[in-house]
Symmetry: D2
């Protein structure tokens, strides 16, 4: 039975915008941190540089403020040969509220002459996601 | 008949990541720039600070590289009393390709005691979007 | 005898630029994270939002790459009534090299009518820095 | 007689932090935009990706707020065979105040086996800076 990968982060000042809450674009960067920490935990961090996002969706439910502790949870939604679709949720542990949820589709690519070309993902990458 | 709002930007080095292409989170920040320039063109820039994103969706179709000229086009998809849903597309003018498309739902809020509370959007804001 | 405050961070993909190394502006944001974690350790995180930088200097000695573990060390250089000047160094623990060093001058301010006005720093803030 | 290169930018929401002013790290990214636009104006944009910063100094004099128009002015301070030191100033045109000033040392490098090695800068790069 697959288990979501979880990682904890703190919200810093440089994440906030003029409304005093974390800017949505930086919340999405935090989701990516969790994805990287998942790969790092599997010895697959090198794969991440060839994984451009094909699709990103996020629903923001509750603000993150500077100093808040967050838990990011990610798990595979669909693992294909050339792409993975994973879901995420962000819990604002400080406020005790779900802050955001959504999904990401990342594609395995090779760059040939500057063009990004979808290729088959490494087998260990596919296996790692199937367990998450 | 409504017309999309258009704005042009250049992709800079600080937008890129280790793959040599603009990071998805910074592409989304460029979409927000177009939204702000739309408000600025209507004298409504002050409203933007009370418009947290409720939902963001993006599909990335073609990379943006440093130096590329981009055209961002935004137009209202659904204008409600307390929120607007707008669609965007990003054209990579340098490559002659559509780079991304998606939508954003932004909610009009007031902050009371730190909580964000959805409120009715200013009338001129609603009008501006109905024309876009 | 004062002791530097130390905090550890990981370099993530969104820190990198097209050269595959952390962008200087994001390295400086990591220094600020250490400053915030120092305040948090002293119960003074709320002060940080009224501490605009007056001066920042950094010398970059060795690159930070995605996945690298870094140690940021900060210590007071000069503690004045209305400002603190602290020094920092960043060690790339993964490479075993000093990555950067420099200093920051941050000023205690109050905002009146939108203008930032230098004011005396809170006493506990001054004390905390004198110990670091 | 050399002339500073000038470029104009607007401050956007994603530049601001919780204090409602542009975050210092993003102000520095705007300085880099001016450097890139200078290279672009000389047909030298490709050089920029091999120009890591060796040193950055900034003094912040007046805040930049969302919507402010800024003028960035850069000019060579010292042009060496393997590095350039340029000075910058940022004028907040909206407020009619100087917002920041400082300098940047950028080094021409080649990457060999992942190490950055200082090399001689391209001749046209040296010439371009000597005129700025």
């Amino acid at each position: 039975m697959a288990m979501p990968f979880e990682a904890r982060y703190r919200v810093y000042w440089h994440h906030t915008d003029g409304a005093g809450i974390a800017h949505f674009s930086r919340i999405l960067a935090i989701v990516e941190q969790a994805e990287e920490d998942f790969y790092a935990s599997k010895g697959l961090l090198h794969v991440h540089g060839r994984l451009p996002r094909r699709e990103v969706y996020a629903s923001f439910l509750y603000p993150l403020r500077r100093g808040d502790e967050v838990l990011v949870r990610i798990w595979a939604d669909e693992v294909r040969r050339r792409a993975v679709r994973y879901r995420f949720e962000i819990l604002n542990l400080t406020a005790g509220r779900k802050a955001a949820e959504g999904h990401v589709v990342a594609v395995c690519v090779d760059s040939e002459g500057g063009e990004l070309k979808a290729v088959e993902c490494p087998q260990e990458f596919v296996e790692a996601w199937k367990e998450a």
